[in-house]
């Protein structure tokens, strides 16, 4: 057993390769045999990942999902933002720069719209749950942008840690929701061309949700969605502690 333990610890990344390969294979079999291809294998595999993450957190009390489980620490490297961004950049090869330039300004509009459409409904929900101070309302609203905008905004305007925790959780739920529901909703909202993917990326903002959601929908659209969503956290961090906070303070006072 100690030999096996050592083997898994020393070769953590290789173990992660193998486990992801097995998950992918199982998901493809389920997709083709059980579901007759109605749900793509990638979507099922990502859902598998999220379920594993839930139990990883439950069993270990850690913050990094399944990678906190002994022997599976390689997931933290394989699923790191470094490798994710590296692979996302690689998908840009062969996609059309012309297409992006043509619809670039749609991306810009969708980014700003995305922040406001995330922020204000979330503020209203926080209000309904009894929050009345501008700092907490703004922080929870910011969390609905992405799970980075929430804590950055909260820290900037001095929110307490329990409110920041809620804002991070809201951002994680958004990312999970976008991950799972992009594929089933894609047809319905017309997400089937580069232009729509750029609008979608900017609106949703969550890079992890957008890249995973598009992977399950149509991998060809990934670079277009990723292109705009990569600006979203920056735009959110810019607008939430400034304009959005001023508006909330104006409405609710200090």
């Amino acid at each position: 057993m100690t030999v096996l333990n050592k083997l898994f610890t020393v070769n953590a990344l290789i173990v992660a390769f193998l486990v992801v390969a097995i998950i992918t294979w199982l998901s493809t079999v389920i997709s083709q045999k059980l579901l007759k291809g109605k749900i793509p294998g990638a979507a099922i595999a990502i859902l598998f990942g999220l379920i594993l993450a839930f139990f990883g957190g439950k069993w270990t009390g850690g913050t990094k999902g399944i990678s906190d489980v002994a022997g599976l620490s390689g997931f933290a490297l394989l699923g790191s933002s470094m490798l994710r961004d590296f692979a996302v950049v690689a998908t840009a090869m062969g996609s059309s720069l012309k297409e992006m330039r043509k619809t670039g300004w749609i991306g810009a509009i969708s980014l700003v719209l995305g922040v406001f459409v995330s922020f204000f409904p979330a503020v209203a929900i926080a209000y309904a749950f009894g929050y009345r101070d501008a700092v907490s309302l703004t922080t929870i609203g910011a969390g609905a942008c992405t799970f980075i905008v929430g804590p950055v905004t909260g820290a900037a305007i001095g929110a307490n840690s329990s409110v920041i925790a809620i804002s991070i959780a809201a951002g994680v739920f958004k990312s999970v929701f976008v991950t799972i529901f992009t594929a089933p909703l894609a047809k319905w909202v017309g997400l089937n061309n580069p232009q729509a993917a750029m609008a979608y990326g900017g609106l949703m903002g969550t890079t992890s949700g957008v890249t995973a959601g598009l992977a399950a929908t149509d991998p060809k659209l990934v670079p277009y969605g990723a292109m705009t969503s990569t600006f979203a956290t920056g735009v959110g961090c810019l607008l939430c502690p400034s304009i959005c906070y001023f508006i909330i303070r104006f409405i609710f006072g200090n």
């Binding site: 992801v20 998950i23 992918t24 990638a42 990502i46 990942g49 999220l50 594993l52 993450a53 839930f54 139990f55 439950k58 913050t63 999902g65 399944i66 990678s67 699923g79 933002s81 961004d85 590296f86 692979a87 996302v88 950049v89 690689a90 840009a92 090869m93 996609s95 720069l97 459409v117 409904p121 979330a122 929900i125 749950f129 929870i140 609905a144 980075i148 809620i166 991070i168 959780a169 809201a170 951002g171 994680v172 739920f173 958004k174 976008v178 909202v189 017309g190 729509a196 609106l203 890079t207 992890s208 995973a212 992977a215 670079p223 990723a226 292109m227 990569t230 600006f231 956290t233 920056g234």
Partner: protein, 118 residues
């Protein structure tokens, strides 16, 4: 050689991240603004330029293609490392604040496209 492709990808990645970090610094916010986006633009420009010059052999291209194909496995691993349990333990407010605005965002996609195509 395959490593040349990986090298080109790495160079574009680092240069783009540098632009994104610098832009964040310049704007005075603690976030990378569009790093991945700039990297992607750089990669598209440079590979197109190499192709035009005829100096992008298939093997070099393989070095980039491999990583673009590893993208979905990486996303699966990323999903498995999200803090999903902690998110659930924050209760119903976090769930609603995360999901309800997202439904509005989905509704915005066709509206935005229709508005812009006019």
């Amino acid at each position: 050689m395959v490593i040349y492709g990986v090298g080109v990808l790495a160079a574009c990645f680092l240069a783009g991240q540098f632009i994104g970090e610098s832009l964040g610094n310049l704007l005075g916010i603690e976030a990378n603004v569009g790093g991945v986006g700039f990297s992607m633009i750089l990669l598209m420009i440079s590979t197109q330029w190499f192709q035009k010059k005829g100096i992008l052999p298939a093997q070099t291209e393989q070095g980039i293609l491999f990583w673009s194909l590893m993208y979905i496995p990486i996303i699966i691993a990323m999903s498995a490392t999200q803090n999903v349990f902690a998110a659930f333990s924050q209760g119903i407010l976090a769930i609603m604040a995360g999901i309800i605005p997202t439904i509005f965002l989905f509704l915005c996609i066709p509206m935005l496209l229709k508005f812009l195509s006019k």
